[in-house]
């Protein structure tokens, strides 16, 4: 099982999904029209490390986080 968390202003509860890579996650999340804009502007972290490509293999227990645009300070 992979846990997917939506951070900051993305108002969506965490998901648990059975997937083996980020391409599968993209396909699942793109079905949710409310997420469309967030998918375009959010960064993706796997186990708290930001990734910049979908070519990432996932293992049971991995955590994925979506990080929308930031503004600290």
């Amino acid at each position: 099982m992979i846990r997917v968390e939506f951070l900051g202003p993305i108002q969506k509860d965490a998901l648990e999904v059975e997937i083996s890579n980020l391409n599968e996650l993209a396909a699942i999340l793109q079905e949710d029209k409310e997420l469309a804009e967030w998918l375009q502007n959010s960064a993706v972290a796997v186990n708290d490390t930001i990734v910049t490509s979908l070519d990432v293999a996932l293992q049971d227990g991995d955590k994925i986080s979506l990080l929308p645009p930031v503004c600290g300070g």
């Binding site: 900051g8 996650l25 993209a26 998918l39 375009q40 930031v70 600290g72």
Partner: protein, 148 residues
């Protein structure tokens, strides 16, 4: 050192503590940047969400860059609500010489704005409104939105 506080920062206390912590470290320059909530657009204050695991690894990477130049950085940030004229952010560089401090604080604060996993909300009319227009997509964003 990265310190997170609920609500506004006690700026004089933090600046004093940091100064005293490094009093014997033989740094010639101490350069803190303090960010304070401005009154604009009718807001009552700001509010912040922080994702700590990634903030900590981002900060640690900068600490290593500082170390390579003989410097150190310290940072404090607020969680939750911070009202007008209160402060939510301090970042400081200590370094042996001034040029490193002056260049480092600029690069650090700019990358903080672009990359640190912190989300800002305006407090307005009793609501908490994501400051979307002032926010920056982290480098590499959008990969999940690309058509397969």
């Amino acid at each position: 050192m990265l310190s997170l506080y609920d609500g506004a920062l006690n700026v004089p206390k933090i600046l004093k503590e940091w100064y005293e912590e490094e009093a014997q470290s033989n740094y010639g320059a101490y350069l803190p940047f303090v960010g304070t909530v401005r009154s604009e657009d009718g807001i009552e204050g700001l509010s912040f969400d922080i994702y700590e695991p990634i903030l900590e690894s981002w900060f640690e990477a900068w600490q290593q860059k500082a170390k390579a130049k003989g410097a150190i950085i310290k940072m404090a940030h607020s969680r939750g609500d911070v009202l007008l004229h209160e402060s939510s952010y301090i970042a400081a560089v200590f370094s042996p010489k001034r040029r490193v401090a002056l260049e480092f604080i600029d690069a650090f604060v700019e990358d903080f704005k672009a990359s640190a996993p912190i989300w800002k909300y305006d407090l307005k009319d009793g609501k908490r409104i994501y400051a979307k227009d002032r926010s920056t997509a982290i480098e590499g964003s959008g990969i999940l939105g690309a058509k397969q």
